[in-house]
Subunit: 374 residues, 2 copies
């Protein structure tokens, strides 16, 4: 993505060749600032404090965290410590565990003297792969937007999205927003309704920032508004991301996604979920088994924004002594998902649909490949 005429990924090596640069997403949309992360502890903090967030980006950032740990000390104990530290940062996104396991598999079999080079090479490969997977999600998802454009006739295609599943959630392009960028770049007029996405407002702060920077027309709405917009025919399709998808197609995504999926079903609006294969948890059938992260009460009782003086500040919106609950994700059952848009193509939200695209997981899913065509 281009910011101020320069191409950026959300994570890249510092010019020193070993430390990591990320965009500090807690300051957006008001300040665009890079953060240099030079230790596994700094990486772990950046993930848990949401300096970086979004399932794919969390995975790649954790991979670099392991590389930094190996650079500091390449022994087995250091690897194990880094794996444990990083895995504990966020419980819901499965990419995190997937990325750490992949790094371990790439690094651990080699003698300590070779591990540092292997680790950086694997992390870089994962970053490149995430960018190319997201580009592929964009190409496959474009067909869904094109179909909606044919139904829409001369008016722009109206897309509703929740939270941020754009390039800021990934290394580049994004998942849910990749088809939006692909359609916009292909000359299809699109308009995006952006849920503000309380409590952390990633829609208002990140998705609006991204879409506006790319020139895509968009309108901010409260999380409460989407049902009404769908009732009144103002939404052609919903496109969201996923933090973890079970092998049967249940989708854990930012809290509130389930409510939009219910409204889409009630109003006959297609509800598509875009995700890289790395966020499929082949070990789980039922979304109810996905651990849901509970974050701090303060995220609910306080809101961050820019004050009249221009500084980014916090205000409290509830009476003193207020107790809050803050589940960060919910699970949308596969029955409410129209399709899963992956880097390999578009799948029906079911075990058969997913295994057809990922036959290497057929055994894990307990299906024979022959069954997957049904």
């Amino acid at each position: 993505m281009r910011i101020g005429g320069r191409h950026y990924r959300t994570i890249f090596l510092h010019e020193d060749g070993w430390s990591v640069q990320v965009i500090d997403q807690t300051l957006l949309p008001f300040v665009f600032e890079l953060r240099r992360l030079a230790s596994v502890e700094a990486i772990a903090h950046a993930i848990s404090a949401m300096t970086v967030r979004g399932a794919p980006l969390i995975g790649v950032t954790a991979a670099y965290g392991l590389a930094l740990a190996v650079r500091a000390a390449p022994d087995d104990q250091s690897l194990r410590h880094a794996h444990r530290l990083l895995a504990a940062t966020r419980p819901t996104a499965v990419n995190l565990r997937w990325a750490l396991d992949r790094m371990l598999a790439a690094v651990a079999p080699h003698p300590p003297s070779e591990r540092c080079e292997r680790a950086y090479a694997e992390a870089a490969a994962m970053a490149d792969e995430d960018a190319s997977h997201c580009a592929a999600i964009g190409r496959h998802g474009l067909a869904l937007v094109e179909a909606a454009a044919r139904r829409a006739g001369s008016r722009p295609v109206s897309i509703l999205t929740h939270c941020n599943a754009g390039w800021l959630a990934c290394v580049d392009w994004g998942t849910a927003l990749a088809p939006v960028y692909a359609a916009h770049d292909a000359g299809i007029p699109v308009h995006v309704y952006v849920d503000e996405t309380r409590p952390r407002n990633q829609g208002a702060s990140l998705t609006l920032f991204e879409l506006t920077a790319h020139g895509v027309p968009c309108t901010l709405v409260t999380d409460n508004a989407g049902g009404h917009l769908m009732q009144r025919g103002a939404v052609d399709l919903c496109l969201v991301g996923s933090d973890r998808t079970t092998r049967r197609g249940d989708v854990a995504n930012k809290i509130g996604t389930y409510l939009k999926a219910l409204a889409a079903r009630d109003n006959g609006v297609p509800f598509h979920v875009a995700l890289p294969g790395a966020s499929i948890d082949w070990t789980l059938e039922d979304g109810a088994a996905i651990p849901i992260e509970n974050r701090s009460e303060r995220e609910v009782t306080h809101v961050t924004g820019r004050g009249v003086g221009g500084d980014v500040i916090e205000v409290v919106i509830a009476p003193e002594g207020t107790r809050a609950a803050n589940p960060a994700f919910d699970v949308t059952p596969a029955r409410l998902v129209t399709s899963l848009v992956t880097e390999r193509g578009i799948a029906h939200a079911s075990e058969a649909g997913l295994v057809a695209l990922y036959p290497e997981h057929a055994k894990q899913a307990g299906l024979r490949p022959a069954e997957t065509a049904s």
Copy 2:
């Protein structure tokens, strides 16, 4: 309701005997301050700026607005002007029109010299009636909470509510919260999940304030969280208010209500709507015909709260130049409503159900009273 040991209604006559005192609800929960309103223009502004809000309270406030207009000039032109001015303040709540028409009917037939006294008497009667209707809603709704308490066994009954349909939305007691107060006062342990209710956060600011002042245990959640809570079995029943109910039982209420009703249906959670008869629009069948107020973009892009210095301030949460859409209400179709709790009892959300309780409207609803028992 008691605030700091003193009993308050949300609207009452000033000690001068003619001007009106209201609680400035834009300052809550941080500041409890009364506003004196001494002209119809001041009343109209207080309604449109949401110094007072909530369908029942809007109706009674408008009634006093007409009384102030009559006091200033009791002629027909003054009456018509006041009616037009007040009716234009908020388009969705039907109580407003109902209250103004009732005031006109009570005042207009009398000679100008008698109108002032008639107007104040009618407004006072409407205020008393609203308080007694809300108390009756509490008594009828108590049965629903009692039933949930029997199912809940030894744990507290968990109730989810959206926006503020408490005493601050009415003259006293509230609609949706009246059964909660009745249950709490009857010794039934209850706990309320309070939707923050973006964009104006009436849940976080008003409902939490009310419940806490009354000693009812409550937890603030984002508007996004309710679906997840219901999926996990954390909600025994939903209780919300209504700004306008069609004669077939479709309910216009604060934006986002529809999403919670969908989640309740999907999870087998009872979804009850509490309303005084005055908010039933007997002229409308279909909720899609209810005019939905669109409010300012600024309510979405800006959030009001208390800063670290203690002052109540605004912060902006979106990038400069953001466009926002701000529909203030949505319509929950009758099929998603378990029951309508009124001052006359509990009705099925249907024309037959409502006419059974309000037989005087049978003709208007196009039903013979005999049909209403079916």
